[in-house]
C-alpha cells in the first residue's frame, strides 16, 4: 500500500548516494526522452515525489506486455521505479490469488479513490455482454468500468488495450474493444506495440511520477516522446532507401548488404514508434537491424494490413471513396505535387491502400 515517504527518502534508505540519484535521474530523463538539460528539474521533483498506487488489469491479452516490461534492459531504473510505485494489483506478478487478490484490488481502490493510476493491458470483449473473458466472476467490461471510476488516469499498455489488438482482428469474434472506446471520461494514454517497448511504459510512469501528469500525446493518444517519429525516419537503413537500394528477397545480395526492406513489406514509413533508437534486448537490435521489416505493430489494425510482406498494403475499407474525395480536394485546393503525394500517403495510411516506393520518393523530393 502507499506510504508517505518521498522517492528521495526511499532511495536514501536503500543506500543510494546523491550522485547515484543524479545518475538515476539522468537515466530517467533519457527514458522519458526529455532534454538532458531537464535533469536537475527532474531530480528536484523526483526527490519529493510521493509513492502512487497503481492497479494493473490484464484482460484479453497474451501477457507479452508484462514480459516486455519485466525483461526490460534497464533493470536498475525500472526496478527502482517499480519498487517505488505501489503496484497493488497485477494478476501475473502478485503473490495473492483468488479472493485475496480481489480484496487487495478493492482495498487499494478504496484507500486511493480518485488518485490511483490504472494500467490496462489486453482488449475488452463486449459481445454477448462481455462473457468471453471474466475474472473472479466479473466480465472484463464490468471490472474496467468499476476500476476506471476511481482512477486519476489510465495507461493502456499494448496494442490490444490501446486499439483492440489481435483479438479485434477481422471478424472480431468477441467484439474486442480498446479501453478508450469504453472509458470516455478519464485521461488515457496509449502505449501501443506488440509488445510495446519497455522504456515507453516506464517512461510514461516516470513522467507521471515526476510531473504528476500524463505526457504530451499525438492524435492516437500516444506519448509523442516515443511515438513522435516514424521508424523510417529514424532507421539506420534510410540512406539505402534514399539511394534506391532495396532488398528484393530475404536472401539476395541486397539483403546481405543490409539494404532497405521497404519492398519486403517493411511498414517503417507508416509506423510511429521508438524501436529504431530505443531498440530491444539490452539495446542490441530491433527487427529491421535483424533483417526483417517492421510489421507496424504500434498502429491500429496492423494485423489486417494485407500482409506483413507486401509493401505497405493495408486493409480494404471505404478507402476508394476517401481517396477520390481527398484527391479532388487536393486538386481543387491547387496543392503542389509533393503536398498531393503527402495527401495520398496520409489517405493510404488511413484507408490502408497500397503505397509504392515511387510515391514516397516523389514526396521526399518535393
Amino acid at each position: 500500500m502507499s506510504d508517505n515517504k518521498t522517492l528521495g527518502e526511499h532511495l536514501r534508505e536503500r543506500g543510494v548516494s546523491r550522485r547515484g540519484f543524479m545518475k538515476f535521474c539522468a537515466a530517467t530523463a533519457s527514458l522519458m526522452a526529455l532534454p538532458p538539460a531537464m535533469i536537475p528539474a527532474i531530480a528536484e521533483t523526483l526527490q519529493n515525489a510521493r509513492r502512487p498506487s497503481v492497479i494493473w488489469l490484464s484482460f484479453q491479452e497474451c501477457t507479452g506486455c508484462t514480459e516486455s516490461l519485466t525483461r526490460s534492459h534497464a533493470p536498475t531504473v525500472e526496478s527502482l521505479i517499480f519498487d517505488y510505485i505501489s503496484l497493488d494489483y497485477h494478476h501475473t506478478l502478485q503473490a495473492a490469488s483468488g479472493e485475496a487478490a480481489e480484496q487487495a484490488r478493492e482495498a487499494a481502490m478504496k484507500e486511493n479513490w480518485g488518485k490511483y493510476l490504472l494500467v490496462v493491458d489486453g482488449s475488452i470483449p463486449q459481445r454477448d455482454g462481455g462473457v468471453y473473458s471474466t475474472i473472479a466472476g466479473m466480465t472484463n467490461l464490468e471490472m474496467l468500468q468499476e476500476v476506471a471510476k476511481g482512477a486519476a488516469a489510465i495507461v493502456s499498455v499494448g496494442t490490444c488495450a490501446a486499439f483492440g489488438g489481435l483479438p479485434k482482428a477481422d471478424p472480431n469474434p468477441t467484439g474486442a474493444a480498446a479501453v478508450s472506446q469504453i472509458v470516455t471520461d478519464k485521461p488515457i494514454v496509449n502505449i501501443p506495440g506488440c509488445p510495446p517497448i519497455p522504456v515507453a511504459i516506464t517512461g510514461v510512469l516516470a513522467q507521471y511520477l515526476t510531473l504528476g501528469k500524463l505526457p504530451e500525446m499525438d492524435h492516437l493518444g500516444r506519448p509523442k516522446a516515443f511515438y513522435g517519429q516514424n521508424i523510417h525516419d529514424r532507421c539506420y537503413r534510410r540512406p539505402f532507401y534514399e539511394r534506391g537500394q532495396f532488398a528484393e528477397t530475404f536472401d539476395d545480395e541486397g539483403a546481405k548488404k543490409g539494404w532497405c526492406l521497404f519492398k519486403l513489406g517493411c511498414k517503417g514509413p507508416t509506423t510511429y514508434n521508438a524501436c529504431a533508437t530505443a531498440k530491444w534486448n539490452e539495446g542490441t537490435s530491433f527487427p529491421i537491424q535483424s533483417g526483417h521489416g517492421c510489421i507496424g505493430c504500434s498502429e491500429p489494425d496492423f494485423w489486417d494490413a494485407g500482409g506483413f510482406y507486401k509493401a505497405l498494403s493495408v486493409p480494404i475499407g471505404d478507402a476508394a471513396g476517401a481517396i477520390t474525395a481527398a484527391a479532388a480536394a487536393a486538386a481543387a485546393a491547387g496543392l503542389a505535387a509533393g503536398a498531393v503525394n503527402r495527401y495520398h500517403k496520409q489517405v493510404a495510411q488511413a484507408a490502408h491502400e497500397p503505397l509504392k516506393v515511387e510515391e514516397l520518393s516523389r514526396e521526399e523530393k518535393s
Binding site: 543510494v16 548516494s17 546523491r18 550522485r19 547515484g20 543524479m22 545518475k23 538515476f24 539522468a26 537515466a27 530523463a29 533519457s30 526522452a33 532534454p35 538532458p36 538539460a37 535533469i39 534492459h73 534497464a74 533493470p75 536498475t76 531504473v77 529514424r234 532507421c235 539506420y236 537503413r237 534510410r238 540512406p239 539505402f240 548488404k257 543490409g258 529504431a276 533508437t277 530505443a278 539490452e282 539495446g283 537491424q289
Partner: protein, 144 residues
C-alpha cells in the same frame, strides 16, 4: 541430423560496409557550436546519444573520432559510470551502466567539468558534521 555447428554463420564487422546514417558530422558540428557557446557564455550543453539513430558501429566511430583526452574517472553508484574528457578539451563522454553492466545512457557533455564529478553541497555539509563527530571521539591513543 543438422547440428548447430553446421549452420554457416558469418560474423559481419559492424563498422565495415554498413551504411552510416550520416549523423556523425552533424553531431560534431553541434559539439563545435556548443564549445563556442561554452567559451563565450559558460553555458554547458548535453547531447543524449541514446536518442540518435546510429547504424551498427557508428557510435563507436563517433567516439573514436572524438578521441581520448587527459582525464578519465569512474563513478561507482548504482553500477559503474565512466566519464572521460575527449581529445577536444571541454568535450566529455559520460556513460552510465547498471550494476549488471548494461548501458543505461550515453551522453556527450560540453562543459568544463561534468556535474557528477563535483561533490554535492549536502554531502560536503554532512562530511563536515561526520568529521566533527569523528574528531569528538577520543582516539585510541588519547584514551590510553
Amino acid at each position: 541430423m543438422i547440428r548447430i555447428g553446421n549452420i554457416p554463420v558469418a560474423v559481419v564487422d559492424g563498422s565495415g560496409n554498413q551504411a552510416f546514417t550520416g549523423n556523425i558530422t552533424p553531431i560534431l558540428h553541434e559539439i563545435r557550436h556548443a564549445l563556442t557557446r561554452l567559451a563565450d557564455s559558460g553555458e554547458p550543453t548535453t547531447i543524449d546519444l541514446s536518442g540518435i539513430p546510429f547504424a551498427p558501429g557508428e557510435r563507436d566511430a563517433l567516439l573514436e573520432r572524438l578521441g581520448q583526452g587527459e582525464i578519465q574517472a569512474t563513478l561507482q553508484a548504482l553500477g559503474e559510470s565512466r566519464l572521460y574528457e575527449t581529445a577536444y578539451p571541454g568535450v566529455w563522454v559520460v556513460i552510465h551502466k547498471s550494476p549488471q553492466d548494461i548501458e543505461l545512457t550515453a551522453h556527450i557533455e560540453v562543459t568544463r567539468v561534468p556535474a557528477l564529478l563535483t561533490t554535492p553541497l549536502d554531502d560536503v555539509r554532512e562530511a563536515a558534521d561526520a568529521l566533527a563527530a569523528d574528531l569528538a571521539e577520543p582516539t585510541e591513543q588519547e584514551s590510553a
